[in-house]
Amino acid sequence: MKPASMDAVFQALASTSRRRILDIVLGMPGCSVNDVCKYFDTSRIAVMKHLRVLERADLIISRKDGRTRELYFNAVPIQLIYDRWTTEYSALWASHVTDIKFKSETKKSKKKRPS
């Protein structure tokens, strides 16, 4: 992955609104710009601007289907970043560590309050 492409991905991800757009598109593959706009109070222009940043980073792919544009989430740039920093050992231990985190956090939230 070229440094410029990696910069584009991190810049695109460094925004709450853009991460929210990724969640929306991930949950609704093939949705339109209008569908995304429904989730925001801001102007359509503002949403379009965020979408352009995400498209430049290849995190969102827009495909023409007849007269409409369909949006898809592309997980590949994130996978490339994962592969870039993950070696045989760190993959094993990092996943153990995240497992412990997720399991203990779920337990904690399930735990009843002491009477």
Binding site: K2, S5, P29, G30, D58, I61, R63, E70, Y72, N74, A75, V76, P77, Q79, L80, Y82, D83, T86, T87, E88, A91
Partner: protein, 175 residues
Amino acid sequence: MSETVKQVFRVTIQASLQEVWETLIKEGEPLPFFFGSVLHTPGLQPGAPIRMRTPSNKYTGVVGEVLDFEPPHRYSHTFKFTNLDDPLCKVTYELKEVADGVEFTLIAEEVPRGTKTEKQMSQGGKIITTTLKTLVETGKPTFTARMIMTIGGLTEWATPAKCLSSNWPMDKQLT
């Protein structure tokens, strides 16, 4: 909400169109980006069957039929995991020349929503795309792909009997 899902995976590969195309359709040797399976086909052309088999030939993981074959830009086929009972879906590979190499897009369509096929496809799509890129650019598959190939080789004995290649001959009608 529709019954099927479309998934798109894209990456830019710094190589020539021909190089990427030839790597994608290589026959007779394990393909790291397809989890170490070997492509078997009587010849890639519309209507021809394809079978992705383990290097030992004993098991078949994926079966399908070629829909479109337009070298070196587009190749699509029907797709089914032999261990699952989900209906066929469709996979398309698109190659486009861009300024810094080849834009490779993998599209999975008509994937039945909420099935194991959907889950495996969304995991698999990422790995196929990144491994193809790394393999073409460096000559070596990614760590993730190497690990999957090693585990696959070690656990072949645990593959379900319905994946036996004898159950998936070339002339079997796929539904």
